[in-house]
Symmetry: C2
Subunit: 157 residues, 2 copies
C-alpha cells in the first residue's frame, strides 16, 4: 500500500471515529471519557510502534546501550516514520511542520484539538522504545500549529 | 509520514478496534452488529477514497467519459493506492497477493475473517468513483488467501 496521504487520511478517520460519540457528553464524565479516547489512540500507536520497530531492526546488530537505542530512534526510526530526521540527541524534539497537523488550520484557533491528533504518534514512539527494552513516557506539546514538540522521558527501572 | 508498514499496521489496529466489543455478542444481534461493523470500515474507506482522488486528480484534465474514469481508476489510482496495476479494463480484478491479506495465514483457515480486512479497501474504490461522479457497488471475494477478487459495478442512473 502506498502514499503518505493514504496513512494521513486513515489517521484522520480514526480520530473522528474514536471521538464520534463523545460530543453529547458533558462535565466530569466528559473529562474521563476524553482521557480514555486519547488512551485508545495512544494504545493503537503503541502496538503499531512495536510492529514497526520489529521490522526496522530485523537486520540491525544489537544495540550497545541506551544512547545507541536513542540514536537509532532519532535517526532511522524517526526518519522512516515521520519523514524527518532529528539532528541531535536531546530527548525533546521540535518539529515545525508536523505532518499530522498540517491538515488542520494554522495558528491557535484549534489548539484544543491538537492532543487527539498527536496521541497516536506519541504511542508509536513509546511502543518502539518499549520493544527495545526502554519504558518511557512520550508527550507532545503544541503552542502554534503545525509546530509540535515531542518529549521522551525514559523511565529508569 | 512514510512506509507501507505504517499504514498496514494502522489498518490492522482499526479493524481490531472496530471489532473489539463484538465477541461477546451472539445470534441475530450478532449478524446485525457484524454488518454494521463492516459498514463502519467501509465508510472510513469511502471518505479516504474521496480525499485521495481529490489529491490525485488535482492536476489531471477532465475525464471524457466513464471509460476514461475507469481507465484512471485501474491505472493511476490503483497503482498509487494498492501498489499494483490492473492490466485490463474489466471491472473485476483478481489480485493474487493482496497487501492487506498477506499478514494473515494463507489458505482457507481464516477465510471467514477476510471480509473485515477488505471492507476498507472496497470503500476506498467506491469513494474515489463517487467523487468522479460514478455511483458504484464494490465488493471483494476471497477463495484462498491472500488472493482476492475485486468487483466494481457501476450504478446506472
Amino acid at each position: 500500500m502506498a502514499d503518505d496521504a493514504l496513512f494521513e487520511f486513515l489517521h484522520m478517520e480514526i480520530v473522528a471515529h474514536v471521538y464520534r460519540d463523545q460530543q453529547s457528553m458533558k462535565g466530569e464524565a466528559d473529562n474521563k471519557e476524553r482521557s480514555s479516547r486519547v488512551s485508545i489512540l495512544e494504545g493503537m500507536g503503541y502496538r503499531v510502534g512495536q510492529g514497526l520497530i520489529e521490522r526496522l531492526t530485523r537486520d540491525s546488530p544489537c544495540f550497545k546501550d541506551e544512547l545507541d537505542i536513542m540514536k537509532f530512534i532519532c535517526k532511522d526510526f524517526w526518519t522512516k516514520v515521520f519523514r524527518r530526521q532529528v539532528d541531535n540527541l536531546r530527548t525533546n524534539h521540535q518539529d515545525n511542520k508536523f505532518n499530522l497537523l498540517t491538515q488542520l488550520s494554522n495558528g491557535k484557533q484549534y489548539l484544543d484539538q491538537a492532543p487527539k491528533y498527536l496521541a497516536f504518534s506519541c504511542g508509536v514512539v513509546r511502543g518502539a522504545l518499549s520493544n527495545l527494552g526502554l519504558e518511557s513516557v512520550v508527550t507532545a506539546e503544541v503552542s502554534v500549529m503545525p509546530s509540535c514538540k515531542f518529549q521522551v522521558v525514559i523511565q529508569k527501572l
